[in-house]
Symmetry: C2
Subunit: 356 residues, 2 copies
């Protein structure tokens, strides 16, 4: 058995390699996650705000495909602020020109209520019944009672932090490890309250400050695109990494063809953090709409509800005008390998750099 | 003699340690820079847009204090776009409320013309006469004729790049090494054309992509606060680092007391990139003015001229309202040691992590 320089994370989850494939709701298939777990990493399913039935379905699919540990990821949302009629009218007026440009007609009225706050009782019962080996949280944490029951059930828990203060909260809540997610990361920034696109801390600066602030193992995320980034994360004091974009290149991922083309050509400067599509800051391909909406950061509908306003924009097929292709700043380092080969290549490369 | 894993940068400049103290115009003293050079790193003087006489004075002061290599840094600016009377009126109206709040009276009219574009003939002659061992450029590069004469004079040259494309330009222009400056960096981002506060690439993602794009040695900068960051930079493929904020803590730096207090308490989330103070994107303490001006990014006066509008705001002493305390996201990792001790501690720590 290969010894990584810091065995805390591999020991915690029973992994050969301290590489977590990021959940990436909508882009990960059970086939991808199981391939990662079978290769010695930790495969993750991103269920975001899916209903409890999806936990049952996801755990079933994973257990059918692997005997190894896997991770179920959930978005834990804060109480949504209600949008006033006036704010909604302003928002619709702001979107009208791009709707007109793309020939999409009227800006729609919102169709959905705000997603539920926190972890529902039904979801808690589904988790306790299914007992995924690892559970990861994004945007926040369940309350103390739920955390205690999940912990008592033997489920290992981790949560994203985008600042030192959030990392301390994650530790205090009883999590087994914390994901320190830097500015470079693709997809949604796991800040525990909505914050501005610019409020990110780079991985190089964030990870050692989190390492110094908590005693639980730190998982570095954001901008880690190949073996060099994994080795660098260990030098910063991390006990493992979470990599998302690197796995978007895999044939097992459900990444659509257009995004595969974009990430194959990426050079780090082709993405931008925007809260204009989903209501929360997320790194995605640099569309004109995302850039145009920067001055209005923080003035969109809440997570979940904002998609009612932007789904049609993203479906219009005009990537450079409006699209929500989520990926990070290290996309250009990726290679289109099957997931098992990728995990092997990443591990071997990092261990070689680390002199193991 | 200690062998670093990649000797290209130490060999190039004749250093014991591949650690460049960032120039930081206004915060660096010859005493600080000479202490770094005498300790085996590369001390730098930040002359920004100072006149040629300062090159003579700086080289004289450095040669009086060290026999080792040192670096002179210059800002090489693009042609400034003229500000229309209308844009100036809009800008002054935008600044009026904060002037009023701080009791500063009328927003001033601009006093200075735009700084000269590129490298002046007078500056070139001063450089050729003084022959600093190393010359570093920020914001851009001198033209081919000047580059050729400086190179023929035996001056080693380096330049900041904030993207892969800029790194390719730096190599093509004949520089001996390139500084890959990430999002985390304090002070002015060395983008070769004015760009938005959000346009930064994190160090973790930028460095390996630059390493893959050029053949000259890469110097990692941004978010490197202690020995862990140096070791991480080497894992990413860098041949050395440039660290600024870490040296602001040194007694030899001219860092004012208020900024020393801020960096002693920093946690990575207390800075923001803003172009509202100088006209170019720079990372500084997160004042309310910097945050309020985010929607107007790109609408300020050019570099140099914008200070005519904001100097008084920064001098008012109301840090949380308006101030321009430049430092990076890894400030919290710093320790107030004399520069020679700091270089020794950083080198020993990094070499230990790298297994040397």
């Amino acid at each position: 058995m290969v010894r990584w320089p810091d065995p805390r994370l591999t020991d915690l989850f029973g992994l050969a390699h301290p590489i977590i494939q990021a959940p990436m709701g909508g882009s990960v298939t059970p086939e991808l996650a199981a391939a990662v777990s079978n290769a010695g990493g930790l495969g993750s399913l991103g269920l975001t705000i899916d209903p409890p039935a999806e936990v049952r379905e996801g755990c079933r699919a994973m257990r059918a495909a692997t005997n190894a540990a896997f991770n179920i990821n959930l978005f834990i949302l804060p109480q949504a602020a209600a949008q006033s009629a006036e704010a909604r009218a302003t928002l619709r007026a702001r979107l009208a020109p791009v709707y007109a440009e793309l020939g999409l007609g009227e800006v729609p009225q919102p169709q959905h209520g705000a997603p539920a706050q926190g972890l529902s009782d039904e979801m808690l019962e589904a988790l306790l019944a299914q007992r995924p080996p690892v559970l990861s949280f994004h945007f926040g944490l369940p309350g103390p009672a739920a955390m205690a029951r999940l912990k008592a059930a033997g489920i290992k828990m981790i949560c994203t932090a985008s600042t030192v203060a959030e990392a301390r909260l994650v530790e205090a809540a009883g999590c087994d490890a914390v994901i320190a997610q830097g500015w470079e990361a693709g997809g949604h920034r796991g800040a525990h309250a909505p914050n501005g696109p610019m409020d990110g801390v780079g991985t190089m600066a964030l990870v050692p400050q989190v390492v110094d602030a908590v005693r639980i193992p730190v998982i570095a995320a954001g901008g880690i695109g190949d073996a060099r980034g994994i080795a660098a994360a260990f030098m910063l004091g991390a006990a493992g990494v979470q990599m998302g974009t690197a796995f978007l290149h895999c044939p097992e991922a459900s990444t659509d063809m257009r995004r595969r083309q974009l990430i194959a050509l990426a050079d780090g400067g082709d993405t931008v953090v925007t809260d204009a599509y989903s209501g929360r800051s997320a790194r995605a391909y640099r569309s004109r709409f995302a850039r145009d909406m920067v001055p209005f950061a923080g003035q969109f509908a809440g997570y979940g509800q904002m998609y009612d306003f932007t789904d049609r924009l993203c479906d219009a097929g005009a990537e450079d005008v409006a699209s929500f292709h989520l990926y990070g700043q290290a996309a250009g380092l990726g290679r289109a390998l099957p997931a098992a080969e990728l995990v092997a290549e990443l591990s071997e490369g990092a261990l070689r750099l680390l002199g193991r």
